[in-house]
């Protein structure tokens, strides 16, 4: 069964790219445009990997990671944060919240697939 990725980003361009890349790599991709929507989706769907942007309206990525980690079914789900050019503060905030790893934007498609595969259970 295809593994299910939840892609969270307020930018449609980014969501489209992540979706396109991972779908072509055989993943099933769900999209959410902010943390609130992602959290709602996460509560109703089974998700294998979460990819989230950090700067988003309504609920940012760091809060989302915390919220997800508070859900029993997400205690050990890999969560990757997407940051720009290695913004250390953001990265560390993601880490403190419980993220599994980070991916820098811009990313190359094959790298995105590689890192998602790497963390995928």
């Amino acid at each position: 069964m295809a593994r299910r990725v939840l892609a969270v980003d307020d930018s449609k361009t980014m969501r489209d790219m992540v979706n396109f890349t991972l779908r072509n790599a055989g993943f099933e991709v769900f999209e959410a445009e902010d943390g609130v929507k992602a959290l709602a989706l996460a509560k109703t769907q089974s998700v294998d990997v979460v990819l989230t942007d950090i700067n988003m309206p309504n609920m940012d990525g760091v809060t989302l990671v915390k919220e997800l980690r508070a859900l029993p079914q997400f205690r050990s789900t890999p969560i990757l944060v997407l940051t720009t050019e290695g913004n250390e503060d953001k990265k560390m905030a993601g880490r403190a919240a419980g993220a599994t790893g980070w991916i820098v934007k811009p990313f190359a498609p094959d790298k995105l697939i590689a890192v998602v595969n790497k963390v995928c259970p």
């Binding site: 449609k12 445009e33 309206p57 609920m59 508070a70 050990s76 720009t84 963390v119």
Partner: protein
């Protein structure tokens, strides 16, 4: 990023630019608050996110100058967000300039041309200056030079078998030895430890994951575990160092358990949020919507044909057709509503424009906007943006006087410019009104004579004089300023407005001000019409322009010496126009006493009585352009196909009103 990767993502360019345009427009609107010297946290966050998203997207397509500039802009906004700097006039001005440059860089990227070199460099210098000496200057976002040495990170997963300790091995010693190789982070997994009563004190229930930063090779690491190789699962993963350079990485010591479980309030649930959550929407290709609009249009026509066919045979299904009628109409309304957008998206750019232009000309202008919620067809709205921008610029430049002149004329130093939108029937009226000097007729005529547009000594009516400003190549500004004079004249404005089926009118009172009125059709697709007969011909009259119809008594109608006729409607004299005469329908009734007078009103309030044979009935029609299918005909705005398959022409009251003097 590889070229290959970029090609993969090229298909998302359109999405990126559409999204960027939206974000830039939104940003403009939010930055309005800066005028008052403040910027709310909420606005600041939104602007920051927009800049950030543009930067991230631009990075994916490798638009370097855009990424670099956005990066600097973002740094400035970030400084404001974390409170290390506050908004003042300098910072506010800088943000506005930065937003402009960002927009221009996006436009350059979209047009696939290189941005002028050094564009935004001054703003960048100013930003770096503001960020202070203590701070690290903003460096280009991409291409950090990584200093690589032989240190690399290794992940080691150590999962001992249960009997590890019974074989006299001590994990602690291994860990100590490992830490001797470099910087070590240790995560212990205790999830396999059973309940106390079932614990066997000799068994090893723990497992470890180590993250080691070391210069040592794999062999040295393996050596540490040499004696436990058979009693444990050992995995050495060395991908981390490379992975980090490639722009991603994993944290292995993430302690998930630290996060407090339990419900945490969602931020969105907080009461008192000022801005309502973004509306859920989907993006649909405009061509699909257009296709839908067309299909529904055809549906309306074929339904009308069917209805007529059935009615002539007097079949009982006609009753059932009533509900189909209602549904079709609702369907059409729904489809049309998809294309409707509030004029706010165009109006929103105007305050900035007025402020910029006024500042450059040392004028004081207060812009009042009314009716921003008024909705208009998207295509029409887009076409409106340029003419409106030009006219607003004109009003500030030529209309409103300098403060000193205003005061001398007994007016307040601050000029008022009103931009309003409102529904009038099936039209939208957009008015741009200033309280400036008004149009100087004498100068206008002098200029027109000088340019050879008007013959010297020609006698012109006031309307004709005002109309001169729309003549091609006409400009009254003594010197071509960089504000209004960009080679685009009012003639282009008028052409643009006509292109979307609209008209432009100007009225001006010397010393009091000038008002431009744009009359724009709400939509280019459907019309509520009244089918009228003129001899054997059928015409459609826009329902909204009809006031009443009546058959006048002979005494009500008077012949004028110039050839025209007027009708007395309860004391008011209204010019008459015989449609049969105008369109050359030979068998039409020309005498209103024997036919019917349809009293109509133009969008600007003028009245005209049309002499017709009779009224047939009310009908919604799908407008087909006559201009694209045939050629423009005076007095006709388009054509439509009737239920019986015949073509009926749609009358344009405004144009008919001007025909009246010549043809009737």
């Amino acid at each position: 990023m590889s070229t290959e990767a970029r090609n993969d993502y090229a298909q998302f360019r359109q999405t990126f630019f559409a999204e960027s345009a939206e974000m830039l427009a939104d940003m403009d609107e939010r930055l309005e608050a800066l005028k008052t010297g403040r910027l709310d946290r909420e606005e600041l966050d939104a602007v920051f996110r927009a800049v950030h998203s543009i930067k991230a997207g631009a990075g994916m397509f490798d638009y370097r100058s855009l990424v670099d500039f956005a990066h600097g802009f973002e740094a400035l906004l970030d400084r404001l967000r974390d409170g290390r700097m506050s908004v003042n006039a300098t910072v506010g001005g800088l943000i506005i300039r930065a937003a402009d440059i960002l927009a221009e860089l996006v436009a350059a990227a979209q047009a696939e041309r290189a941005a002028p070199s050094g564009m935004g460099a001054d703003v960048m210098v100013a930003i770096n200056g503001l960020l202070g000496e203590g701070a690290t200057p903003v460096t280009p976002a991409i291409a950090p030079v990584e200093i690589r040495d032989d240190t690399h990170r290794v992940e080691i997963r150590f999962t001992p078998h249960a009997d590890l300790m019974r074989k006299a091995n001590e994990p602690l010693l291994l860990i100590r030895e490992l830490s001797g190789l470099g910087h070590l982070k240790t995560v212990c997994d205790s999830s396999r430890v059973p309940e106390l009563e079932s614990i066997n004190s000799d068994d090893c229930y723990l497992s470890w994951t180590f993250e080691l930063e070391t210069t040592a090779g794999d062999d040295a690491i393996r050596e540490v575990f040499e004696f436990v190789e058979d009693d444990a699962e050992i995995a050495i993963v060395r991908a981390l160092a490379e992975a980090q350079d490639e722009g991603f990485g994993l944290w292995l010591d993430t302690e998930v358990a630290d996060v407090a479980p339990g419900p945490v309030a969602l931020t969105s649930d907080e009461p008192g949020g000022k801005r309502p959550p973004a509306q859920t929407s989907i993006r649909v290709d405009l061509s699909r919507v257009d296709r839908l609009v067309n299909m529904v249009g055809e549906l309306v026509i074929s339904q009308a044909m069917l209805r007529q066919e059935l009615a002539t045979h007097n079949l009982p299904v006609v009753d059932g057709l009533e509900s189909l009628d209602v549904l079709t109409r609702e369907l059409q309304d729904c489809v049309m509503a998809i294309r409707m957008q509030p004029v706010r998206s165009v109006f929103a750019r105007m305050p900035r424009l007025v402020r910029d232009v006024a500042a450059r000309l040392d004028k004081q202008v207060r812009l009042v906007m009314v009716g921003e919620q008024t909705e208009l067809d998207k295509t029409v709205l887009e076409e409106l943006s340029d003419p409106l921008t030009h006219m607003i610029r004109n009003s500030v430049d030529h209309g409103i006087e300098a403060p000193a002149i205003r005061i001398a004329a007994g007016k307040p130093a601050e000029g008022a410019l009103t931009l309003s939108a409102s529904h009038v029937g099936s039209n939208i009226l957009i008015q741009i009104e200033d309280d400036g000097a008004g149009i100087d007729r004498a100068r206008l005529v002098a200029k027109a004579v000088e340019k050879g547009i008007v013959a010297p000594g020609a006698v012109l009516s006031d309307d004709e004089i005002l109309d001169l400003i729309f003549a091609p190549g006409f400009s009254t500004a003594e010197t071509v300023s960089d504000v209004s004079g960009r080679g685009v004249g009012m003639d282009v404005v008028r052409r643009n407005i006509q292109k979307i089926g609209g008209r432009i009118q100007v009225s001006s009172i010397a010393g009091k001000g000038t008002r431009f009125t744009l009359i724009i059709p709400l939509t280019l697709a459907v019309l509520d019409g009244m089918l009228i007969s003129v001899g054997t011909e059928r015409y459609i009259l826009p329902l909204t322009s009809i006031i009443e119809s009546f058959r006048p008594a002979a005494a009500q109608v008077r012949q004028l010496s110039g050839g025209g006729r007027i009708v007395n409607v309860r004391g008011e004299f209204v010019p008459l126009l015989g449609l049969g005469r105008v369109f050359g329908v030979s068998d039409a009734i020309c005498d209103p006493v024997h036919g019917l007078v349809v009293l109509t009103e133009t969008a600007t309030g003028g009245r005209l009585g049309l002499v017709v044979d009779g009224l047939i009935g009310q009908q919604q029609v799908v407008i087909k352009s006559l201009q694209t299918n045939f050629t423009a005909v005076p007095g006709i705005s388009g054509g439509t196909i009737l239920g019986d398959g015949r073509v009926a022409l749609i009358l344009d009251i405004e144009q008919l009103a001007s025909l009246e003097e010549t043809a009737a």
